[in-house]
């Protein structure tokens, strides 16, 4: 496997990039990490993902694969060892459903807090994040069956889908002074978050919360600055 040509175009701060990194770590696959500079896009990125021009892009033996969860599934199917998606078709459908919910409904609500133009919109987004976490707490109870992860004994697809947003969740908590992962509201998720973050496949690629807070402040300042258009 050492001669396998695996490259990942990404950035350390991106929760989407973190997903394939955790997956490759779980599989024990070595890869070359090609870090993009914030604010510009490399030739290789533009060539490998001409449709969206976004990271992450996995390049396996010259073939580009785009979209974080699609990359995770590709990694799971291509390399043996740790199983990311469940083996049962129905369990797989449930895992895919939750990953879709997390990306389609939950994370946009979290992002909506920073994007909100009014106090009302901000509060609505905050409510949605809490509601989503309650649903995910129930989902965790069902999926984990009393074990430490959504995937059971080991990290699975939904763990990766949700877990890679933990850095940004914690950063948002610091930025707005609200605790989302609350022991009294979602105790299972709180415990899960710690287990996930400290896992050896995750710890080295989880961005530090303080760095994310700094980064978020920098972006906010950029967008609020008078435009030189």
């Amino acid at each position: 496997m050492a001669s396998e040509d695996v490259k990942l175009i990404g950035a350390v701060m991106s929760p989407f990039v973190m997903r394939p990194r955790v997956s490759l770590n779980l599989k024990g696959v070595e890869y070359e990490f090609l870090e993009e500079t914030f604010g510009s896009k490399s030739e290789l990125l533009l060539k490998s993902n001409p449709v969206y021009k976004k990271i992450p892009v996995l390049i396996h033996s010259g073939k580009p694969i785009c979209e974080s969860l699609i990359i995770v599934q590709y990694i799971d199917e291509t390399w043996s060892g740790h199983s990311i998606l469940p083996s049962d078709a129905y369990d797989r459908a449930i895992a895919r459903f939750w990953a879709h919910y997390i990306d389609d409904k939950w994370f946009p609500a979290l992002g909506g807090i920073a994007r909100a133009q009014t106090e009302e919109a901000k509060n609505e987004a905050i409510e949605q994040v809490f509601t989503g976490l309650k649903l995910l707490e129930e989902a965790f109870e069902k999926c984990s069956g009393g074990k430490p992860f959504f995937g059971g004994e080991t990290i699975g697809y939904v763990d990766i889908a949700l877990g890679c947003y933990l850095g940004w969740l914690r950063a948002t908590e610091k930025l707005i002074g609200i605790t989302f992962l609350d022991e009294t509201k979602t105790p299972l998720l709180c415990h899960w978050a710690e287990k996930f973050s400290s896992h050896e496949a995750v710890a080295s690629v989880m961005p530090e919360t303080d760095k994310l807070v700094e980064f978020a402040k920098m972006i906010q300042a950029k967008f609020k600055a008078p435009a030189n258009k």
């Binding site: 449709v51 694969i65 699609i70 590709y74 199917e77 078709a89 129905y90 459908a93 895919r96 919910y101």
Partner: protein, 225 residues
Amino acid sequence: MAAGKGVKLYGMWASPAVRRVEWALKKKGIKYEYIEEDLSNKSFELLQYNPITKQVPVLVHDGKPVMESLVILEYIDEVWKGNPILPKDAYERAKAQFWASFSEDKCRDAVRKVYFAEEEDTKMKAMEHLMEIIRVIDQELKGKKFFGGESIGYLDLVFGWMAFWLGIAEEVASFKVVDSKKFPNFTSWINNFINDPLIRGNLPPRDKTLEFFRNFRKLHLASCK
């Protein structure tokens, strides 16, 4: 909930996401019971099976619900092995899933922007953007009868909404983007798709669909004011 054996599909006649699942079930030759939902008065069963998004389609297989049309398509393909829908090769499958997400995110969004645009300026800009998107699809279809090659495959089922519901949107919101001179491959694909025996008998009636979406658009625009 009695775990009855068999396949049930909770749907709504005008929904493209529901049709997509029906086309897949037909392609696989799977027998199923169809339950029509009144979305303004959802059934107890639907809300029990899908309390999270409360949406159709919901496929119930031996009492267990599966939600989200693309998730349902993959589930169907994995459980019933004959007449495969998705490619077997991991890289080909990743490419197919990529284009599927392009349909669901970029294309849908682009159509919605034109469909709900009220000011002429906004509409023109949205139409230009939509045509850029269709140009990308047109390129992908070069030299192919279907996305799947000679016969309907996964991406045809995924993009199928554009073969019928885009035309509905054009008429309801008075715009035109499907141009056979600008997008010859896309236009041919539309004709090949809606005339294919798998699809032909399985599209909602055009007049009824136009009326439905005219009302839907009116209500949506009124609620935004």
